[in-house]
């Protein structure tokens, strides 16, 4: 695919390629950050920081270390977690009861502009068990390792892999609906 070429140009500091990648992934990255910081405005701000960081460190990405999306996802998770630890955040902390990313759903029901997304999320989550929601939260949104997830959920290491596989497969089926 042409993704490789866009990434290559991005690494050569091509602003056009940067814009393409931003358009491809910015909503996703903001989404992941939002599930961690649970504040739309803060999430959007950190999201921009993350893309600037990616731009400034473009040369440190390497395809043999993982997907481009995974690379930027990693930067985003770290930035979001840093924010959680920061003093500013502790002071302005709003009390959302969302433990899992689906909790975002609840916090979004009040706002008008989120409606389309909620339908999207609901559609993706059809037939998904709580077990799945947990494991996806930990692996994709929190970035825990297989070992850490196995400890956290108290399940065997191999089960993490297989359970996650079947959960993602369900989402893939739902996507096609």
């Amino acid at each position: 695919m042409e993704l490789e070429i866009i990434v290559e140009q991005f690494q050569k500091k091509d602003a056009g390629a940067f814009q393409k990648l931003y358009n491809m992934y910015s909503e996703n990255i903001c989404g992941v950050i939002n599930t961690i910081v649970k504040n739309n405005n803060v999430a959007e701000e950190i999201c921009q920081d993350v893309f600037m960081k990616a731009w400034n460190n473009a040369e440190s990405y390497n395809a043999s270390k993982g997907r481009f999306f995974t690379w930027i996802l990693n930067i985003a998770r770290n930035a979001a977690i840093d924010e959680l630890r920061s003093k500013a955040h502790k002071n302005s902390k709003k009390n959302f009861s969302a433990d899992y990313f689906v909790g975002i759903l609840e916090s979004m029901t009040d706002s008008e502009d989120g409606k389309e997304d909620i339908i999207g999320l609901k559609k993706l989550m059809v037939n998904l068990k709580d077990k799945c929601i947990e494991i996806i939260e930990l692996l994709y949104f929190k970035g825990l390792t297989q070992k850490e997830v196995s400890k956290e959920l108290d399940i065997p290491l191999g089960t993490v892999k297989t359970r996650n596989r079947s959960c993602i497969s369900q989402i893939r089926t739902n996507m096609a609906l």
Partner: protein, 262 residues
């Protein structure tokens, strides 16, 4: 390899999550390069994660905000404009200084030309010697060319990695003769006390086997090295290791890497 089994193992989902070890990431990458169905699966998994993460997005501030930030970061401090002085007063002085400077420059140029002429005639002698030398090395090069043109040769391009993205190398692998010629022209000179080490990689699980060192790298003229390779290699990698080489590769110092597609 049984790609179906590999796909259903769930390792690719963890790969997209970014929670694998560095070695596992490398293994998945090499497998994806080798088997299109694995690459396709990774892309499909990524698509599902993308739609999931998008569905919880609050929206974005847009790329124009990024452009503003880039512009701000790129701002060069400009000096404040000083008091205006009558510039015409300086013009005459400037012109005469320019003329003086020009004359001196012309004189020096003339001297330089005389000197250059001498140098050129000396260089001619040197070049004649070089021509004789290169005829010698041409014969060697033709030998080399014949070797790598052999029909049994598989060519593997090794691309630059994180530590040195601009590096590259080529492996010419003669499976019949169990030999690999590494063309390392595209690698920088190794720092003192270090040496390049070539690895044959087998996948599933990723197992590196040393093929040897690129010794006397700096003094080697053509930077082509012949190494024995009795292995059923699936990929080749070159790492920088302390002099004498290492038991296992230091992936932090992986310079180039490439998959052998057969």
């Amino acid at each position: 390899m049984d790609t179906k089994e590999y796909i259903t193992s769930g390792i690719l989902e963890l790969y997209v999550a970014g929670t694998l070890s560095e070695l596992e990431n490398l293994e998945v990458y090499l497998n994806a390069e080798k088997y299109p169905e694995i690459k396709k699966e990774i892309e499909d998994i990524e698509a599902s994660v993308l739609s999931l993460t998008k569905s919880v997005s609050p929206g974005t501030k847009g790329f124009s905000d990024i452009q503003n930030r880039m512009a701000k970061a790129g701002i060069v401090k400009t000096e404040p404009i000083r008091n205006k002085v009558s510039w015409t007063a300086y013009l005459g002085w400037a012109a005469s200084l320019l003329f003086l400077g020009g004359s001196i420059w012309l004189y020096q140029q003339n001297d330089q030309l005389k000197l250059d002429l001498e140098v050129v005639s000396r260089e001619n002698d040197v070049m004649e010697q070089q021509i004789a030398d290169s005829e010698n090395s041409l014969a060697k090069t033709e030998d080399l060319l014949n070797t790598i043109r052999d029909k049994n040769i598989t060519v593997v391009a090794l691309g630059g990695q994180t530590v040195s993205p601009t590096s590259y190398a080529k492996a010419y692998w003669n499976k019949e003769e169990k030999k690999v010629y590494i063309d390392a022209q595209g690698l920088p000179d190794p720092p003192n006390g270090f040496v390049y080490q070539v690895w044959s990689l087998k996948l599933n699980p990723l197992t590196p086997t040393s093929m040897g060192l690129l010794e006397d790298f700096v003094d080697d003229d053509n930077k082509v090295f012949a190494l024995a390779n009795p292995n059923e290699s699936e990929a080749f990698g070159i790492t920088l290791e302390p002099a004498g080489g290492s038991e296992s590769p230091n992936l932090e110092q992986l310079y180039t890497l490439g998959v052998a597609t057969s």
